[in-house]
């Protein structure tokens, strides 16, 4: 028996630019990926939702601050509170933080410069639905491209997150001034994750690294299991 393809929705905001790459990457990883327009008030039948990178609503005010109020985001919040899997990449991470679905906030890079390069990442947790294909302590190479990726949480919040093991990825070297080099976090429940690096740009060795596929295929696998469990 062939296992069914999980259905993954890629949200499209005006100003998104990595939505097609995300769609392509999930299709290459044996998932059925579909676009969801930001004005939709309900999500189609999905096994996971992805918020792709870009500059939603021009990044006006603060990155993600306007997008979090998009009609589709209310549906995403509901999907997440029902335990649905949600992954935010770059701008998607910023939106999830602004929406309060993930802890902390993404600020202007400490250097004030846009960073666009492959970065080394350390996997802190391999037991989330987004990292099952990785191993703890594994070093991944995935590109970043952002001007506002400096993740910040105050002392109290950061300590709380560390004690709950909510930090999933760290940069192995300073990249943007993020607190304790945090590159990706999950929510308390572990079903929502955000990261600044772009796994969808690293699914084929031809593009320099296929390490991003480890993260995306972890999500595809987790979504497939949920689809099977629900069937």
């Amino acid at each position: 028996m062939t296992s069914p393809q999980p259905r993954i929705g890629v949200l499209r905001f005006p100003g998104a630019c990595d939505d097609r790459d995300a769609l392509w990457a999930f299709a290459a990883l044996d998932a059925e990926a579909v676009f969801v327009w930001h004005t939709e008030t309900e999500l189609p039948d999905l096994d996971a939702v992805v918020l792709p990178g870009g500059f939603s609503y021009g990044d006006y005010l603060r990155c993600g601050a306007i997008a979090r109020f998009a009609p589709a985001m209310a549906a995403v919040s509901e999907f997440a509170s029902d335990g649905g899997l949600v992954l935010g990449i770059c701008n998607g991470f910023q939106i999830l933080c602004e929406a309060g679905l993930l802890p902390g906030v993404l600020r202007r890079n400490e250097s004030l410069s846009f960073v666009c390069r492959d970065v080394p990442l350390i996997v802190e947790r391999a037991d989330t639905p987004f990292t099952t294909r990785c191993t703890e302590g594994e070093l991944l190479t995935i590109p970043v491209k952002h001007g506002e990726g400096c993740w910040y949480a105050d002392d109290a919040l950061y300590e709380e997150l560390v004690s709950r093991r909510q930090v999933v990825l760290r940069y192995a070297e300073p990249v943007n001034g993020s607190r304790a080099d945090v590159a990706g976090v999950v929510n308390d429940r572990g079903n929502v994750m955000g990261l600044m690096p772009h796994p969808e740009h690293a699914v084929d060795p031809l593009l320099g690294s296929a390490d991003g596929a480890l993260i995306l295929s972890s999500l595809v696998e987790s979504a497939r299991e949920r689809a099977l469990a629900a069937a």
Binding site: F69, E98, V105, N109, E110, L112, D154
Partner: protein
């Protein structure tokens, strides 16, 4: 009523923009320190009652105009002219 919202990086939060502005000012020969860069939002609020208007703008700040993790805000209200 006219409302002016001043949004600032919170005390103790690193402000690289402010630092860049400060170093540019120093290069121009100005003797300055502790520059911080924030944001100003001017609004026309329908309400004519100052208390109601202030409460409404406060809600705007909490929901959208400022991120309480990193920013503080101040609200100034002024009667419309004429």
């Amino acid at each position: 009523m006219r409302a002016t919202v001043l949004v600032r990086p919170k005390q103790g939060i690193l402000d690289p923009q402010g630092q860049a502005v400060e170093s540019s000012l120093r290069q121009l020969g100005f003797s300055v320190g502790d520059a911080r860069v924030g944001r100003v939002v001017d609004l026309e609020v329908d309400s004519t009652d100052a208390l109601t208007a202030r409460a409404e703008v406060e809600r705007m700040c909490e929901q959208l105009l400022a991120n309480p993790l990193i920013e503080s805000y101040e609200i100034e209200l002024a009667e419309d002219e004429g």
